[in-house]
């Protein structure tokens, strides 16, 4: 069940929320839709679910055009909107039954699918309570259960963990990972760890445009800028600061050497290296050949956070 988006554009009045974006999600892929607030993530989701219609461009869900056969598309999609809206005065079971009926689950299978979602989403203890009485974590589970009641092949989750406490976030993420198996899943978020923890692929969107698209690893490689290596050396009475500076300067690929601190018995040094070159090897050998003691050496990696900041702040 693939999703294909071609040159999608959507504006609200004069405001262009989504500008000519195209991407494709393959069957079974878990894609993280990442971007700052107001980037166009939610709008794109609303377009895929046919809640809104685009100004131009096409969306195909499993080859079906959302504009020509929106009901068929909606049958295939499970959707958890932003803020997870629910009916507070309905109880969990009634609500899930209602959702199943609206999703045209066969009459004979409604009870079974409700039972299954209650079990899978861990709602056993609260199934007879009114939704309004539930904690935020449970509500989120109800929202997920509702989205998956008809066993959809495509799952769209708009900020599924917003507003939860750290324990709940971990639980919900685990639930999403388990449930997302064999499903095509798009998850929007502005939390970076979430993408790293759950997604195969990341699409970063900013100001309505896709600014990056790839696996987390490939993005990290692609956007790796200058590497910084920090090392700690044991002080050697024979060697002065200048000697150390010149010692590392002569290593191939090193751009800048800076002594960060000069405490009683250790030096802390930051070395910047050229893009794409791994100089750790050479640095280690240099230290050894100068008969000095290396206490610590590590390379700072470009995190997804850095990439995100780089791409979305101008």
């Amino acid at each position: 069940m693939s999703i294909k988006i071609e040159n999608l554009t959507k504006s609200y009045g004069n405001f262009l929320a989504v500008k000519d974006i195209s991407f494709e999600v393959k069957t079974g892929e878990i894609v993280g839709f990442l971007g700052p607030n107001g980037a166009g993530k939610t709008t794109t989701m609303k377009l895929i679910t046919t809640y809104l219609t685009q100004n131009s461009g096409k969306i195909f869900v499993d080859g079906i055009d959302t504009e020509t056969d929106s009901l068929a598309v909606r049958k295939k999609i499970g959707y958890l909107p932003e803020q997870n809206p629910l009916y507070p005065d309905m109880n969990v079971i009634d609500y899930l039954k209602y959702a199943a009926e609206l999703q045209s689950v066969e009459k004979s299978k409604i009870d079974e699918s409700v039972k299954k979602m209650v079990r899978v989403c861990g709602l056993e203890d609260v199934k007879h309570k009114d939704i309004g009485e539930l904690s935020k974590g449970y509500r989120q589970r109800v929202g997920l259960a509702q989205a998956m009641i008809h066993n959809p092949e495509v799952l769209l989750l708009d900020e599924p963990t917003s507003g939860l406490d750290p324990n709940q976030i971990i639980e919900i993420r685990k639930l999403i990972r388990d449930l997302g198996k064999q499903k095509t899943l798009i998850l929007s978020t502005h939390i970076l760890q979430e993408v790293q923890a759950t997604c195969d692929r990341v699409i970063i969107i900013n100001n309505g445009k896709i600014v990056a698209d790839g696996t987390t690893d490939s993005l990290q490689k692609k956007f790796q800028g200058q590497l910084t290596i920090s090392l700690t050396l044991k002080k050697d009475p024979k060697a002065g600061k200048e000697k150390i500076m010149s010692m590392f300067d002569s290593v191939n690929g090193v751009e800048k050497v800076k002594i960060v601190s000069d405490d009683n018995d250790v030096w802390k040094i930051d070395i910047s290296a050229n893009k794409g070159e791994d100089v750790r090897d050479a640095i280690f050998k240099k230290v050894v050949s100068n008969d000095m003691v290396l206490l610590n050496l590590h390379q700072e990696e470009t995190s997804l956070e850095d990439i995100f900041r780089k791409l979305t702040t101008h």
Partner: protein, 235 residues
């Protein structure tokens, strides 16, 4: 059809989840009950006339009150987005909500049938005109509910929804009472638009096709407008 039934059941039940349904039914019965007993015991007349005369006035407030939440509440809570992304058409949603509110109005009217049967024990009753009056009340409430859910679909604020539907219903209701201030050529048009004019024509016991056309076309137009107002999100 199934989808309409699903929404109808859920919506009708949800009136009873909250105190809304109980309050409106009780208030409605207290007011009509007072007019019934006062004509019976104070004036000593066996008639439903006073009850049927007062109900159109109660409807002015009662119908906006029961229909104001239909869409406004869902818009405010955001559940409208869930509903509109399910595989059902917008018009099915509108119909489901319309019939559920209509169902509540009918349930509220139903206990007043007791008045009719208690009158029957005391003396002769003109069942024909009473039947006509009930048909008239149901048609009138249908039109007002159409207006009410249309107003509700336009705003997420239930108070605004109440006021809009009250104003429209009040205007329709008053039209045949201000005919003397209106230039003669347009009097028939204004009179035709008046809901009370058609209601009193039906309560006379004659169910005329022009009255039925008025109510049914009015309901249909309001439902179409509601559907259009739901689709306005896509504009």
């Amino acid at each position: 059809m199934n989808n309409i039934l699903t929404i109808f059941k859920k919506e009708l039940k949800s009136y009873f989840y909250s105190p809304v349904a109980y309050i409106v039914i009780v208030v409605f019965l207290i007011i009509t009950g007072w007019f019934f007993t006062s004509s019976l015991f104070v004036a000593g007349v066996i008639t439903m006339r006073n009850v049927f005369d007062i109900i159109p006035f109660i409807f002015l407030f009662f119908i906006p009150a029961i229909s104001m939440r239909t869409f406004s509440e869902e818009k405010k809570a955001g559940t409208i987005e869930l509903l509109l992304t399910k595989p059902i058409t917008d018009f099915e949603i509108v119909l489901g909500k319309f019939f559920s509110t209509f169902g509540l109005a009918a349930l509220t009217l139903a206990p007043t049938v007791i008045y009719v049967f208690s009158l029957r024990m005391l003396g002769p009753v003109d069942f024909g005109s009473i039947f006509g009056a009930y048909i008239g009340l149901l048609l009138m409430s249908g039109l007002y509910i159409g207006i009410g859910i249309f107003a509700s679909s336009m705003t997420e604020n239930q108070v605004i929804s109440f006021i809009i539907s009250f104003l429209i219903i009040f205007a329709l209701f008053m039209m045949n009472k201000i005919l003397m201030f209106i230039p003669a050529p347009i009097v028939p048009i204004v009179e035709y638009l008046s809901s009370d004019y058609h209601f009193s024509s039906i309560t006379r016991g004659v169910i005329d096709s022009k009255d039925l056309i008025y109510y049914f076309s009015g309901i249909y137009i309001m439902l179409l407008l509601t559907k259009t107002s739901l689709e306005a999100r896509k504009w």
